[in-house]
């Protein structure tokens, strides 16, 4: 498929496409992957925090899914299966990177992400100044996210950023729902002090245990 094109239209559902691929249909897997590629890219990019790592993880996942499609047993949705493979590949890369010498991560994730089109509903009408402020906030949030452990980061990316339910995230991550809840909760607790001041209403997020606020932030 040519870059920039929308995914090809195919009436078959995900399971049918995967089954067709296993049966030898040469185009089915491409259609399936194209159908989900943007969401998979978003998860990989936000989990790794690095466009190049994300692309590598996606390539690794694509090859694995293509070659191991026959092992899909249908217990989970195909999209969940695909997400699991991508997240695992991304987490593997993150863990490998964590074992290396400390290194700063790219500051330009948003810039790289911007190579793709941000499809927000307000993109056409938003004031440029406001857009810049929002971009700054996004950058700060993403930078804070990168300080978390890979497991916490993946859980928050899936649940808070990509909108998966805790149960879906648990299936993708292959852990109990309670573990996902715990990782999200602990991750948010670590993020809160880092995001202080990054509020769109001008009020700072109160630090945990800050006696001046009683620790009760306003949503």
């Amino acid at each position: 498929m040519t870059p920039g094109e929308d995914p090809p239209v195919d009436d078959r559902d995900d399971r049918a496409l995967l089954a067709a691929h296993v049966s030898g249909d040469p185009t089915a897997f491409g259609v399936l992957f194209a159908r989900h590629r943007d969401r998979l890219w978003a998860v990989a990019l936000r989990t790794t925090g690095d466009p190049e790592e994300a692309a590598d993880a996606l390539q690794e996942a694509l090859m694995a899914a293509y070659r191991r499609a026959e092992s899909y047993r249908g217990d989970a949705a195909v999209t969940t299966w695909l997400h699991r493979i991508v997240v695992n590949a991304a987490l593997d890369r993150l863990r490998r990177r964590r074992t290396r010498a400390t290194e700063p991560l790219p500051d330009d994730l948003e810039e790289h992400a911007g190579r793709g089109t941000l499809r927000t509903g307000t993109a056409d009408t938003e004031d440029p100044a406001e857009a810049a402020i929002r971009a700054d906030r996004r950058r700060e949030v993403l930078a804070a996210l990168r300080t978390l452990s890979p497991d916490q980061r993946a859980a928050l990316v899936l649940v808070d950023m990509e909108g998966h339910s805790v149960e879906e995230a648990a299936e993708i991550l292959g852990v109990p729902a309670g573990t996902v809840k715990s990782r999200c909760s602990r991750g948010r607790a670590r993020l809160l002090p880092l995001l202080a001041g990054n509020r769109d209403d001008g009020r700072n997020v109160p630090s945990v245990g800050d006696p001046s606020t009683g620790g009760g932030g306003q949503p």
Partner: protein
Amino acid sequence: MTEGGHGREPLTPEEPLTPEEEATVARMLAEAGGPLRMPDDVVARLDGVLADLEKERSPGTGADVVELRSRRRWPRVLLAAAAVVVGGYAVGAVATQGSLSGSDDGMSAGAESESAGAGGDSAQEESAPGDQSGAADSLKERPDTSSVPGSTQDDSSGGGSEGAGDDGSITMVLTGVRLRSDSLDTGVRRALRVLDTIPRRMTLMEDYDRRGAPCPVPELGRRDRSLPVRYDGEPAVLVAGPERRGTVEVTVWSCAGDELAATLVRP
């Protein structure tokens, strides 16, 4: 590394947030999220991978390795500058040279070992029993790229890839990739798979000299990737060009500046 830096798990649980605080952070994350379109270059890259996978699955797609051209020889005048580095490699303690810029990756010998050895395992840890995750399996299928810390002194194990020492300097980590002239295609494929396990930025020719190059090689393309190997037992460097139409041009250079092999490979 600080407690809050680079995601180390805290030793003690954080104080729980109030529901309002949790909601605030969740909302900020949601605002930073939202849909993204995969960049065109990534789409093109993955389309190429898909095309290759399909060719791989279809029988009778032709030869996978094609001899490109006869051997070349790199002008020796260009080799002198790297003589010190070559000497360092020859004694087996792979060269250590300057530091990478802040955004570059570092990789210790131990890390490289964990990278290759634990990749699949870590994926498995996250997977339920009977998990169909192919990513883990794909990592397991990789050739052994591990190197035991300290084994960088053992020149007998083969070529290497770059890593960062504790002081941030760049060292070479042996990967054990050996090429043989009588089974070049197999070795080259293995080497390419090893290359894929190394962060791309650490293999680019544009930084080759800064990484403690084991052998001088011509800079055929700044975006080409390099991997120290052994070719018929001798230290050499494999240089892989960008993938074009499903194929990668690979050249192997001896540390004396001879082009030992040139092939066109479908990875």
